[in-house]
């Protein structure tokens, strides 16, 4: 997807570029993926068996902070897109790096949280609640991680790029993905942590 700059000038029937339309469709599909996982969690969240209950393990202040970090990364992503549109490759690189760092902080928080839960007796197979919790939040974590890899790769590509602003559409595409992953987290955070079982 390195050649998106070419396509912005290319005529399309809708006026939208192919990659942008493709990304929107892909995100539409992702909605159903998370929809299925969230449904599974909602079905099983009360089935704790012999294991710990959600209220025993959840540390809501901690997760709130890491959620805040993730949401702030959407802001820095917007700044990266804005810098890219102004053909400011240095600014883009800077904001992309900050976005990736904020994302990494969130994933780090998730790893810490999983470890803490595990030590408190909530293994992957402890109960249906545990399995569906780990699968749902784990899938989200994988999505964030893939986003971080894309952001860092983009930073690397930008450093080699000779034409300023030539990657602006790629930045925008990864931005769409990143915002989507954030929005999904708002839903997941609300459903998992804020609604009492």
């Amino acid at each position: 997807m390195a050649d998106t700059a070419l396509h912005t000038e290319h005529h399309t029937s809708t006026g939208l570029s192919n990659v942008k339309l493709g990304m929107w469709l892909f995100l539409g599909s992702e909605c159903l993926l998370f929809g299925g996982l969230i449904s599974t969690y909602m079905l099983y969240r009360g089935r704790v068996g012999e294991g710990p209950t959600p209220s025993q393990v959840f540390d809501i202040p901690f997760t709130s902070v890491s959620s805040f970090v993730l949401l702030m990364s959407s802001l820095t992503m917007v700044l990266a897109v804005s810098a890219a549109n102004q053909k400011d490759d240095r600014g883009t690189t800077l904001w992309l790096t900050i976005t990736a760092l904020l994302g990494a902080t969130f994933v780090g928080g998730q790893v810490y949280e999983f470890t803490a839960f595990y030590n408190e007796g909530l293994g992957f197979t402890t109960s249906l609640f545990a399995s569906s919790f780990y699968v749902l939040t784990g899938f989200h974590g994988v999505h964030v991680t893939v986003g971080i890899i894309m952001l860092m790769s983009l930073v690397g590509i930008l450093k080699r790029s000779k034409v300023p602003g030539s990657k602006s559409e790629t930045v925008e595409m990864i931005g769409l993905y990143w915002h989507f992953v954030d929005v999904v987290w708002i839903v997941i955070f609300t459903l998992i942590y804020l609604i009492p079982v």
Binding site: A2, L21, L25, Y44, T125
Partner: protein, 662 residues
């Protein structure tokens, strides 16, 4: 990715590289030649990919067919000895899986890949490399699933893979693991294909090709891609949960651990019911092209056919639980899904009416393609009617898990989907290969298939209503009943029918062989067809159209050939050759086609490695992940169109990429 076209100017039409070229070491850009195996392995041409989809799907059709014949041989007589119970379970599971995921879906992809860009007047799909990736992922996924036969036994839980039968206790072999991971891989192929084709339809139409001027086949394929886009992630979730249960000891479907086995059924059928429309709608599209051509009339009520197809797409999401009437959902759910199921018969009925009215009063030409199309209308209607009986929940509860259901879905899938695909073979063969399939052998093909099909699946209505259960590996004479309803008689008829059906398919293979050896070239426009895919040579040039046509009508090609005279009669004013000549005379000076690439196949190759890794050892999965990552990077760093110096061996002067036409 997309095709880059430049207006004919004096400046040379060379696209500037967006990253430094020749930086990929061992994997430099492959040569784009027309004769070697490399030109197929690394191609991104939608037509070559379409042919490869078709060839592989046809192979899996034969595999799935042989599995079906073994099932019928086992059931031909009481206490069959051909298969044991375990092998029988594997056989019916893999028969269904192969036919659904490895034949009908990819064969529809084959036609869609080949003809959708041609029908909308495009030179390729929106993302040619993703298209290539989709094909390789499908191929590797299909091989991966079938490797289970040689690695301890295939999946044996039925294609619906209900819990608890799919758990490790009841199915300890790796068959279901191969099935789960293989379907994930083919699912990725379907998803990428869906995104690709939707973007192609929305964005790459020729000038003037508004949505309501698109050929019906393109419309139906588009509806199918939307269904795939939203149905595949649901089965992906279900398969992931099953994988975690089987390979990582989770208990998502384990009732003893407090799980709800209905979760699998809901997830599976939320995917599974849209899936049946994914299977049938491409064939509806094909015969909506074939019937008007051989009736010498435009399609009756084009907008109705379009919107009823879209309506089927929508309502198809609201009927999934009619597969679960016997699971105790409760009266409200059952009532709602009963009514929804009755409702979805309406848009389907609209289509049948439209096809009939298209033929009504037409000058019918009974070519083989037309016969298959009419066969679809008749046999699908029979299957559709028995389908409506399933919406009556009390009756359905009686029929659940009997051969009546088997009869129903074979009438809609064989009588519907597969006859439609065969109609497409005969109709489009001259377009794809430049030679006509023999009509004489085709007639044998058609009649043996139709007679065999009715003999095989017709008696199953009786067997089912008499109570013969599905998926039982034997039946006994002692309980077979008397007289007309004797199970033995009808089982034997069904088994003989399956042999006749097989011979019918054999005639098709003979026909392919005979046609391939024949020297006779097809005329440019053998059927006097109506849509844009015929407005190019047979087979089409690599860039499809010398100049992109400007579309002014539905059935554009027909309207270029025929015009109304003063009496309101359509009169032929031009031959197909003359229409084509006009396009050639106005040919675009420079046409850039996307260049071949190694990366799609590299990326796809990583997926089965991950699959093996999950089953056998995690480090192998990490290796697969590394291959995928490597493929992604190579892909991202490679511009979709090669520059002159990237083509190895370096070509002097005019490159393959710049096709000089006219």
């Amino acid at each position: 990715m997309a095709i880059i076209e430049r207006p004919a100017t004096d400046t040379p039409a060379v696209v500037a590289p967006t990253v430094p070229s020749a930086a990929y070491g061992a994997l430099k850009r492959p040569v784009s030649t027309t004769s070697t195996w490399r030109s197929w392995l690394f191609t991104v041409d939608h037509k070559k990919l379409g042919l490869m989809y078709g060839a592989v799907a046809l192979f899996f059709f034969i595999v799935g067919g042989l599995e079906a014949v073994l099932i019928r041989l086992q059931l031909a007589a009481p206490d069959g000895k051909v298969l044991n119970a375990d092998l029988y379970n594997q056989m019916f599971t893999m028969h269904a899986t192969t036919m659904v995921f490895l034949f009908v879906m990819p064969m529809a992809s084959a036609f869609a890949n080949y003809f959708l860009p041609l029908q909308i007047g495009a030179r390729d799909v929106a993302f040619p490399r993703i298209n290539a990736f989709g094909f390789w992922a499908f191929l590797f996924g299909g091989i991966f699933i079938n490797m289970s036969w040689f690695l301890g036994g295939a999946a044996d839980g039925g294609w619906f893979m209900y819990a608890p039968n799919s758990g490790p206790i009841f199915s300890p072999s790796n068959g279901i693991d191969f099935w789960v991971l293989g379907l994930q891989i083919t699912g990725i192929a379907s998803l990428t294909g869906a995104v690709n084709l939707i973007v192609t339809v929305l964005n790459m139409r020729a000038p003037g090709m508004s949505l309501m001027r698109m050929p019906i086949f393109t419309w139906m394929v588009t509806v199918v891609q939307f269904l795939l886009l939203f149905a595949m992630p649901v089965i992906t979730v279900a398969l992931f949960l099953l994988m975690f249960q089987r390979n990582f000891d989770a208990t998502f479907f384990d009732v003893a651990a407090g799980a709800d086995p209905l979760l699998w059924q809901h997830l599976f059928w939320i995917f599974g019911h849209p899936e049946v429309y994914i299977l049938i709608l491409p064939s509806f599209g094909i015969i909506s092209e074939v019937l008007p051509v051989f009736s010498r009339k435009p399609l009756f009520g084009y907008p109705f056919v379009v919107f009823s197809g879209a309506a089927i797409g929508f309502v198809g999401w609201g009927v999934w639980a009619h597969h679960m009437f016997a699971s105790g959902l409760g009266p409200v759910s059952v009532a709602v899904f009963s009514v929804a199921t009755m409702a979805i018969a309406v848009p389907t009925g609209v289509k049948v009416v439209n096809w009939t009215m298209t033929m009504w009063g037409g000058k019918l030409q009974f070519t083989v393609a037309m016969k298959f199309a009419i066969g679809l209308v008749v046999l699908f209607t029979i299957g559709g009617l028995s389908g409506v009986t399933h919406s009556v929940a009390p009756s359905d509860t009686q029929q659940t898990d009997t051969y009546y259901i088997v009869a129903h879905f074979h009438y809609v899938l064989f009588g519907g989907a597969i006859l439609g695909l065969f109609s497409g073979f005969y109709y489009w063969w001259p377009k794809m290969f430049g030679k006509m399939l023999s009509e004489r052998i085709g007639n044998w093909n058609f009649w043996w298939m139709v007679v065999g099909m009715n003999m095989t699946f017709g008696p199953m209505h009786i067997l089912g209503l008499q109570g013969q259960p599905r998926r039982m590996y034997v039946w006994t004479e002692a309980r077979a009943g008397e007289g007309f309803f004797n199970l033995g008689f009808w089982n034997l008829i069904a088994s003989i029918g399956s042999i006749i059906l097989t011979i019918g398919v054999l005639f098709f293979l003979i026909n392919i062989f005979v046609t391939a050896r024949s020297k006779k070239q097809a005329p440019l426009d053998p059927w006097d067809a109506r849509s844009l895919e015929w407005m190019t040579s047979n087979p089409p040039k690599e860039h499809n159209f010398d100049s992109l046509p400007t579309v002014g009508h539905l059935d554009e090609f027909f309207h270029r050939k025929y015009q109304e005279d003063e009496n309101g009669q359509m009169q032929r004013v031009k031959s197909a050759e003359e229409v084509l000549k006009e396009l050639e005379d106005n040919a675009d000076a420079h046409i850039h086609m996307p260049s071949p690439s190694y990366w799609p196949i590299v990326l796809a190759l990583g997926l089965p490695v991950i699959g093996f890794g999950i089953i056998y050892s995690i480090p192998l999965a990490l290796l697969g992940g590394a291959i995928v990552l490597f493929g992604c990077y190579g892909w991202a760093l490679e511009p979709s169109t090669a520059t002159e110096d990237e083509i190895d061996p370096p070509s002097g002067g005019q490159s393959q990429e710049v096709v000089k036409v006219g």
